[in-house]
């Protein structure tokens, strides 16, 4: 624990924790996307999947226990990721109190430049998304226990569907720079691996983007109803 704290105190360590939590969240995103795609198998399979999430681990864990454990883990990961990001951003602000008269933009991609704002958008989205589909607070006609129906109903609104699609674009960009950056931060890259990793990160980002928008697009175009 002492070591983790010492690590956390250094900029490199903070960045490493961000990378590690980022990769963890990336894993969650992949499984979440795969879960989402079950919606195309129809309401029964989709509901069964939702039920599976609650019963997995039974009888070692009681119903929903493991899910909550995972949720707690995710929440901790998000908090570490965000807190470190905020601290590091403050550090960067402090490090250059006077800005340049002519902006200096070397080598940065749109993705790398938008990591911070992208992160803020994603954080906001997560809150909305949980209120939307988990608690149903902001869902106009939320039916507990009917995930399939909630999805179909939720995406009826064009504004909601479009904003989901836009945010998934932001997620794609965040992942494109984030995946490569996390590997660099953890020291896993090298000059030979650089190109392949960047290409892989780009491909993954596109696949995830497509995988996630498939649902709202399908609902909206009437493929799913």
């Amino acid at each position: 624990m002492k070591r983790i704290l010492a690590l956390y105190r250094s900029s490199v360590g903070k960045k490493a924790l961000m990378a590690a939590t980022g990769l963890l969240l990336f894993g969650f995103i992949v499984s979440h996307m795969l879960g989402n795609l079950k919606v195309f198998q129809g309401p029964e399979k989709f509901s069964a999947y939702a039920e599976f999430l609650r019963t997995v681990g039974y009888p070692l864990f009681a119903r929903g226990q493991l899910l909550w454990l995972a949720r707690i883990g995710l929440i901790v990961a998000v908090i570490v990721h965000v807190v470190a990001a905020v601290e590091l951003t403050m550090m960067a602000r402090d490090a250059r109190p006077t800005s340049y008269g002519r902006p200096v933009h070397l080598e940065d991609t749109y993705a790398s430049r938008t990591m911070r704002w992208g992160g803020v958008i994603l954080a906001g989205f997560v809150i909305y998304h949980v209120l939307h589909f988990t608690f149903g607070t902001v869902h106009p006609n939320f039916e507990p226990g009917d995930p399939y129906g909630n999805v179909i109903a939720g995406f009826q609104s064009v504004i909601v569907a479009i904003s989901y699609i836009v945010v998934m674009g932001v997620l794609g960009l965040h992942l494109y720079h984030g995946i490569w950056s996390a590997l660099q931060t953890l020291g896993i890259t090298s000059s030979e691996l650089d190109r392949p990793i960047r290409t892989a990160a780009g491909t993954i980002a596109v696949v995830i983007f497509l995988g996630f928008i498939a649902v709202p697009v399908a609902v909206w175009s009437g493929v799913l109803r």
Binding site: R3, A6, L7, S10, S11, V12, G13, K14, K15, A16, L88, M91, A92, D94, A95, R96, P97, T98, S99, Y100, G101, R102, P103, V104, H105, L106, E107, D108, S112, R113, M115, H177, W180, S181, Q184, T185, L186, G187, I188, T189, S190, S191, D194
Partner: protein, 248 residues
């Protein structure tokens, strides 16, 4: 050639600075950028005004003294050179050129384009060396070092400590500078005994100096006059992880 210069002028660290405009006349394409500034300065002195203060020494790209942001580019628009190696043939007649100092909290402005880079020295003081007493060295050929390792150490060791990496970094981070020294010494057998302590201490000092952190943009390696690669940053990160998770 005639050029319009917008130059950052600042009396001292505490003073408020601002851009001043100067005309540079009779500039030849074979002049270096610093020689162009010399010409402007001679004119200013003749008018009884204070010349533009800028640092320079060897004027052949190795001492690391010179450094200014030229039109948003540390060391100017050409790759792999320092400001003194930039020549006026890169510019066209009538160009407007913006010239500013390195900007970072850890590099306070001393005057005009001159900044205090002693923070970089203190990072080296924190561990950028191999502790060997004069006279206690074994024969130079006692430890063969694979050419590949020696070459990699050299690639990192070419750093001239100019600070362009900090100037270019959106976070004003000194990671490339620090990583280059960590990687240089870490690539050699002589550097092993202090390897992990070195990286811990140097990173701690880098943070203490008020530099920002690394977001892996790669702006530093583009600005670096010696083209030092951000691979070395990955190496630093790797060593840092090991430093915390091994007993040494």
């Amino acid at each position: 050639m005639k050029l319009t210069l917008h130059v950052w002028r600042q009396q001292n660290a505490g003073a408020k600075g601002g851009f001043e405009t100067y005309e540079a006349r009779d500039i030849g394409p074979d002049m270096s950028f610093l020689e162009m500034l010399d010409v402007v300065n001679e004119g200013l002195i003749k008018e009884g005004k204070e010349p533009i203060a800028f640092e320079h020494d060897c004027r052949e790209g190795i001492c690391g003294s010179c450094g200014m942001v030229i039109n948003g580019n540390p060391h100017g628009p050409k790759k792999a050179i320092s400001s003194c190696q930039l020549h006026m043939r890169t510019f066209a007649d009538g160009d407007k050129i913006w010239i500013e100092p390195w900007r970072a909290k850890a590099f306070p402005v001393r005057k005009d384009l001159v900044v205090d880079r002693s923070a970089l020295d203190r990072i080296i003081q924190a561990g950028g060396f191999i502790s060997v007493r004069t006279g206690s060295a074994p024969d130079a050929n006692a430890i063969p070092i694979p050419k590949e390792n020696a070459d990699s150490a050299f690639d990192a060791a070419t750093c001239i400590g100019c600070g362009a990496c900090v100037a270019a970094c959106p976070n004003a981070s000194a990671m490339l500078f620090t990583a280059a020294k960590v990687a240089h010494l870490g690539a050699l057998p002589q550097g092993q005994p202090e390897r992990y302590e070195r990286v811990r201490n140097m990173v701690a000092q880098m943070d203490a100096e008020g530099f920002g952190y690394c977001t892996n943009h790669g702006a530093c390696q583009t600005a670096c006059p010696k083209e030092i690669s951000i691979d070395f940053i990955a190496q630093l990160n790797r060593d840092m992880m090991r430093a915390f998770f091994t007993s040494r």
